[in-house]
Symmetry: C2
Subunit: 335 residues, 2 copies
DNA sequence: TTGAAAGCGCTACCAC
DNA sequence: GTGGTAGCGCTTTCAA
């Protein structure tokens, strides 16, 4: 920068003014400075700038699993929005471990990110007073119990309710569920939606139709296989995330159980493969890209509010998922 | 930091020494400083540190598509390795656009990242003298023509050769291909491997068995459909990436064409869904996680070499993909 | 072994 | 309009 100033015959202050479009520089000097910058292939050092202005234009994002398409899609929404406004995003994967999550939170703080997006948080550290004072934070996808602001979530209970009702409407009575982790709002809400639908339809479900999965492929596989080996297996299964659905479908395939003839399947989370399967998968499609966009929108609001010393309490954004009815659901055969 | 120094009754230099484990500080003072840091919940400002030492401990990674599982898996390898050594990664998606790619390169430079990982680069900007002087850069997945150092790639030609030979070995003679973009090494090499296998087996292939796809779902769908509508359709299709395979499978499903009875399919890239499909998909599995790990390893070497003013010419790392034979390939029926 | 002070590259304030 | 300069929080000589 000094070199630029020297070459243009001005002060560094002027160069800075040109850079930031302060408008108080004469056209003539502006041109000279720009020429000099070009000639020297000068690119302002954002690090130095950040240090000075106390703002990094970087946000952090923590997800449980980088290679889960669901988070990848959210990330895409986040990243594209960030690009437009000159933000960069540091991504870290927590592997569903609260220690990792906490560590990442510390790292991000040390790097002085302007805010962080926390997907499916598994740690209480996230809403420590201390952490919250460090930087604006918005919860994505899953929200800690009792938190009514600063989160972008989907109405999971409603979505599960609709999905289950779809099965009931087709005539199913023996409807099983493979739940997600119940210590997460996403997992619990989906199960509750399912239960409510059954209750309102006056359907009673045996305990062994409720399988407690953990969002991973293996649990979908294992519980799917178990369900179909029951003396009277379900005629429909509601599976609470994309990974487990993959496991479930694998189990069905191995047992040569035909879907939807022998059993109907409703998955949660749409995925690129959902329409390539035979049969095409009926599932609850979450607006992933939109989640990402809204989350970053809320975070920016919070960042601005923090700058302006406003309280910055953004009420939760609640988005709605849409049931995509395709061919993996049909009437029960032995009705 | 000043506060910590004051509270501990020492100078900031001493605090710094403690932080960096310089070892020249008496145990007594060390303890006092640590106490003070704790008491004030002090976390050193990496931004300031970066400015001073000229090293950010951040790397950038540019991928064409954040939500393609293939890149997501590589990213996972990268990210996990980075965590271990205290690096953070800024992720950007180029959407296969060279303008975006160039812009991200500029941004990353402005942020003074220590190096960048560039996946499937589409832009010549990446190997401009200028860009290369800015920071260590390693190419991942796809390598620009003629570049023999600084890249981590898979031997795509060999992988395609093996995959095609697998089909030939099963008795197929009418083997079609849906290629990727031929302006990328990945795309071209795979087609060449396919061609070599056919040539060596003395099999001649009509031109309309070679479909030029672009790595996206739609092209797999479109060309898959076209292939199967040919007067004499192929008995096997080799499909050059995960996305296009999804499209192809959808086309087959819609046309009620049975795989592998009517046509065998070999995909490129393994995916979580590959073993959940019926039939389970035979495909070329790239060592994605390993690619990520090796890439970051090479980048770090380059970074260190750059620090040490060494030339830092790391020869290309060439990894090998493995053919996963499953049920989507079988003998041709009408042989 | 410890501390004083310079300086990384930038911005913002104030004086001209 | 423009420039001089202090200082963001840290590390790193160098002197004590």
């Amino acid at each position: 920068m000094r070199d630029v100033a020297r070459l243009a015959g001005v002060s560094t202050a002027t160069v800075s003014a040109v850079l930031n479009g302060k408008g108080t520089v004469s056209p003539e000097l502006t041109l000279r400075v720009e020429k000099a910058m070009q000639a020297l292939d000068y690119h302002p050092d954002q690090i130095a700038r950040s240090l000075r202005v106390g703002r990094s234009n970087v946000i952090g994002m923590i997800v449980p699993d980088v290679s889960n398409l669901f988070y990848a899609e959210i990330l895409r929404g986040v990243e594209e929005s960030c690009q437009k406004i000159g933000y960069s995003v540091i991504l870290s994967g927590s592997s569903d471990d609260s220690g990792n999550e906490r560590r990442h939170l510390e790292t991000l703080y040390a790097r002085r990110v302007d805010g962080v997006l926390l997907a499916s948080s598994v740690s209480e550290a996230a809403y420590d007073r201390l952490t919250l004072r460090r930087f604006p934070l918005v919860f994505v996808d899953s929200v800690p119990a009792g938190v009514t602001s600063g989160a972008v979530v989907v109405d999971n209970a409603e979505a599960a309710f609709v999905a289950t009702n779809h099965l009931i409407g087709l005539g199913h009575r023996r409807i099983a569920i493979i739940t997600g982790r119940l210590d997460r709002s996403v997992g619990l809400d989906r199960m509750n939606g399912y239960r409510r639908a059954l209750r309102e339809a006056g359907i009673w479900i045996p305990d062994d139709f409720v399988m407690h999965g953990d969002f991973h492929v293996e649990s979908g596989y294992k519980y799917g296989a178990e369900l179909m080996r029951l003396p009277t297996p379900p005629t429909a299964i509601f599976c609470c995330n994309n990974r487990m659905t993959l496991g479930l479908l694998r189990a069905l395939s191995e047992q040569r159980i035909n879907c939807p003839n022998d059993v109907s399947v409703v998955g949660f989370d749409d995925a690129d493969w959902a329409t390539s399967f035979t049969p095409r998968l009926t599932c609850v499609a979450q607006p992933t890209y939109e989640i990402g966009k809204r989350a970053i929108g809320m975070l920016l609001k919070k960042i601005d509010a923090a700058d302006a010393d406003g309280a910055g309490q953004e009420p939760n954004v609640i988005l709605h998922a849409e049931l995509q009815v395709r061919e993996s659901t049909g009437h029960p055969r032995d009705k």
